[in-house]
Symmetry: none
Subunit: 252 residues, 2 copies
DNA sequence: CTTGACCCTGACGTGGCGTCAGGCTGTTGC
DNA sequence: GCAACAGCCTGACGCCACGTCAGGGTCAAG
């Protein structure tokens, strides 16, 4: 069985131009051409297109989709698992937004007005879906990642909110220490770092001091993590990083 | 209270460049400039930005967002109702995709392969969210929708007072039931809760039992809503919350 | 009075296609 | 046996919603 561009386009709900584009950039290439130069897609091409569309829907840039799909170590089942998790993330986020809108409606009805922070809450601290994707890419074959996956999968919404509240708390105290001029290698800062490490261990995976030190380095080396902390307070990424590494040295 | 671009950007989780862009195209303009030319956003500007971000998240092109928000016939409540519906559409679509991925996983596990039609089903008959906006315009032709739209959008002062009287009535009867020792999970209390739900559905938006249950939880979790009910009678927030949730459970 | 974070306005770049333009192919109907 | 028309091809340019410098002004802290 094979399909022409037009047929595949109708089937998949995209335009012919989109398929041309994907061919051009090498993302989804027809496995054959007719003698007249017509594109001819087979079942394996459909497979691939389906994967591409799902990742695209989840907000991945096409180039990243390509590297994901061309990774020889990632089998189809792994992609499905990842997509499943990402979709569930999106579900959660969307229901948070529904809840936010409902809250606004009720507030309006009662003549209450929400604080600005509350109103942007649902937009604010959202880490893009690609973040999760890359996190898996880096840690995908470690035992730590598997542990984290198992634990978070079993987490209810309330669990998750509780975990988030805890880490927000530590982050806020880090920010306060930074603002208060507490040195990153002071005992107080190291104690905060230790608390941070134990949180990770409790909720996600066994995080040894050395592993934790590695994380600390990443906070300043990986721009996405840096951005996350910098949005809480300027200089916080470096501060947390230093405190975490000082703590790791102390423990070692 | 006013905000600079940077502050607003952090608050809303967007970049400064985005705010510049929105200013340039006239989508969200700071209501003032300092003598030095700095943008200065006030609370009304935040309102607008929040609406813009929600519509953007839902996939509307910015130009369309502008015409939506600048429509003098559409009040804030109408926007919230529309956003609520669009978000619920997205929820539905996302869970359909989750189901599709789960189906694929299971099929793979059992060595079955799905038909191409099956596999693109979830993409295929999906028309982007902006289409839902158009769907509303279509539905706008039916009497029921148009009536409910007009009723709330163009609610006169008397209408509003009548609606308010209705909800005051239910609230008073809740207070009386509480004072009379009627249990929150009794049939009488649940009937009151049901009346409350139907009021919301009639006057504001489609409020399913589950949505209503969510509201109920908020009455005790959000201090401002709690304060609203507590001012009518001490213990009323918890009482209404319990009754609403008992009713939701009864309906489910 | 300097430093460093923050602000300004251009101006160009980019991703993911949409939209012609100009021309070849393949099937159906007469 | 050929006309007509739907469908395919390859450029090439356009567009949206910003990202990313460049070059320069502003402001609060020390």
């Amino acid at each position: 069985m094979s399909w022409t561009v037009g047929e595949l386009a109708r089937l998949a709900g995209v335009t012919v131009r989109t398929l041309h584009h994907y061919d051009r950039i090498g993302l989804v290439r027809p496995s054959e051409r007719t003698s007249a130069g017509y594109r001819s897609y087979d079942a394996r091409d459909l497979d691939r297109l389906q994967q591409v569309l799902l990742y695209r829907e989840l907000g991945f840039p096409l180039e990243e989709v390509a590297t994901l799909l061309d990774d020889p170590d990632a089998d189809p089942a792994a992609h499905l698992r990842r997509q499943h998790r990402l979709l569930r993330d999106r579900l959660e986020r969307t229901s948070a937004m529904v809840a936010a809108v409902e809250k606004e409606m009720e507030a309006r009805q009662m003549g209450i007005s929400l604080t600005p922070e509350e109103r942007f809450e649902v937009f604010g601290d959202w880490l893009p879906e690609e973040y999760a994707g890359e996190a898996e890419e880096r840690w995908g074959d470690t035992e730590a990642w598997a542990q984290s996956q198992r634990r978070t999968a079993a987490m209810s919404k309330e669990d998750w909110l509780r975990v988030k509240a805890e880490s927000d708390d530590v982050e806020r105290r880090f920010a306060a220490a930074l603002a208060g001029g507490v040195p990153a290698d002071s005992v107080a800062a190291m104690d905060l770092a230790e608390e941070h490490r134990q949180q990770i261990s409790r909720h996600f995976y066994d995080c040894s001091p050395e592993v934790h030190g590695g994380l600390g380095r990443m906070y300043v080396e990986d721009e996405r993590f840096t951005a996350y902390y910098e949005r809480i307070a300027p200089g916080l990424a470096q501060y947390v990083s230093s405190a975490v590494q000082a703590n790791a040295a102390r423990q070692g």
